[in-house]
């Protein structure tokens, strides 16, 4: 029997290794697996690379992991959200590495990894500083730069409903990076607002099919 549900947050994040690339979902608070971020702090893995649209706010969640010295590198599109105080402190002190990636390319690079492709030619950023060091090529009269797949060791996700096979739905714009990150990581862990019976989600409405999910924990927020 397929049953991807686990009983505790500790069990959900068990075994995440030092040095992991962690795909961290959410856009602002929407779709952000705060309970899993907290559990990862407890779990203790360090030397992490975090992939998120931003770089944490306040001193909890992703910022909490940074504040505790667990994060070696951030790959994000916009580390300047108001309240990204921990990141800014570490950045100024040269205690964290930053790889800045345009938001759509961040997402497309993860999809590329999930789809088993070796890279893609992107028009985004051509002629800008963010294309520095990237191979450039003209194809049919337009210029592109080569972008590489971005694969995660772990994805930390948040969904609305989930069944024991790992089929997921999301709520409104909380969908954001979650479905793509689920496809791009070796180990995909999701906090789900509500477990439902197998078959309760109409198959036409499933956004993330269970094949992309490894572990689920119920967190009713």
């Amino acid at each position: 029997m397929i049953d991807k549900r686990v009983r505790s947050l500790a069990e959900a994040v068990d075994g995440i290794k030092d040095g992991s690339v962690v795909l961290a979902a959410g856009f602002g608070g929407a779709g952000s697996p705060e309970a899993l971020y907290g559990a990862l702090l407890e779990q203790g893995a360090k030397d992490l690379t975090i992939v998120n649209n931003n770089a944490g706010t306040g001193r909890i969640g992703l910022a909490g992991l940074m504040d505790a010295g667990r994060v070696r590198k951030i790959i994000c599109s916009y580390p300047r959200s108001s309240g990204s105080v921990v990141f800014e402190e570490l950045y100024r002190a040269n205690k964290i590495e930053l790889e800045l990636v345009p938001q759509g390319i961040l997402s497309e690079r993860m999809r590329c990894a999930g789809a088993g492709l070796g890279g893609f030619w992107s028009p985004t950023g051509v002629g800008t500083r963010l294309a520095d060091g990237k191979e450039e090529r003209e194809i049919d009269g337009r210029h592109y730069v080569l972008e590489k797949p971005l694969k995660g060791d772990v994805a930390l996700l948040k969904a609305d409903r989930g069944d024991r096979w790992g089929n997921l739905t999301y709520n409104k714009s909380a969908r954001n990076f979650n479905p793509t990150m689920a496809q791009a990581a070796s180990l995909s862990i999701v906090q789900v607002r509500r477990f439902v019976e197998l078959g309760e989600i109409d198959p036409e409405h499933i956004i993330t099919p269970g094949i992309f999910i490894d572990r689920m924990v119920e967190v009713p927020v």
């Binding site: 856009f27 938001q103 759509g104 028009p123 409104k172």
Partner: protein, 222 residues
């Protein structure tokens, strides 16, 4: 009188036809959402996967899972839909949006856009969705104050700040003028009444050309 920020947004909104799909950048362009012309169905897209962004929610409608690219709570119009980030940027990069209305630090007379970093060493740089939008919308227009707070021109021969994209801006809405970016450079289509062309030129680094049918730029009090 120069236009207020809201009036600049209003002027840009007048050019949005019925049925257009538009992305509004952070900052000044976001104000466009509040001054959309009545009687037209205009579909606002937000990078985080919302197509058909509606007005800010009232207390009963508030759902923190429904935000726009600026992470402000919004609503969804009837007919709107949700997609994930990758599909959202497929829309953006694949020439599916009719228009991106973006903010800017500077625009060059060849259409180069600089709107992502001023290289302030005190802050880490951030790019967000700006480069994808600039590269992939069918048309890019900019809303920007004509000069900086200290009077330096933002409409330049070449951008001084790092570029967001090359040769993409087609129209600029400022507090003083509406300017098209053509292969001959900046062409002034409209300017406010109480400034003459030479004075406008003095506030602009690149050469301005006068459109044959130049009009007065005005906006209702708001």
């Amino acid at each position: 009188m120069p236009l207020s920020r809201k009036q600049i947004a209003w002027r840009a909104a007048q050019d949005l036809g019925d049925g257009v799909y538009v992305n509004l950048g952070i900052g000044l362009p976001t104000l466009v959402a509040d001054v959309l012309p009545e009687g037209r169905e205009i579909v606002l897209q937000s990078e985080n996967g919302v197509l058909g962004v509606g007005p800010a929610p009232n207390e009963n409608e508030l759902d923190l899972d429904l935000v726009n690219a600026g992470k402000q709570p919004v609503t969804l119009l009837k007919g709107g839909s949700y997609v994930h980030h990758t599909d959202s940027f497929l829309m953006i990069r694949g020439f599916h949006l009719d228009l991106a209305l973006l903010g800017a630090f500077e625009v060059a007379e060849n259409g180069d856009l600089a709107n992502w970093t001023t290289d302030d060493p005190k802050f880490p740089p951030g790019v967000g969705g700006a480069m994808d939008l600039a590269a992939g919308a069918k048309e890019v227009r900019v809303l920007v104050e004509h000069t900086t707070r200290d009077g330096s021109p933002r409409l330049r021969k070449q951008c001084g700040y790092p570029l967001t994209a090359m040769q993409v801006v087609k129209r600029i809405y400022t507090d003083l003028a509406v300017i098209d970016v053509t292969k001959d450079g900046f062409v002034v289509k409209e300017m406010v009444a109480d400034i003459d062309f030479d004075a406008l030129q003095a506030k602009t680094e690149a050469t301005l050309h006068k459109a044959p049918d130049i009009k007065v730029l005005s906006a209702p009090a708001m």
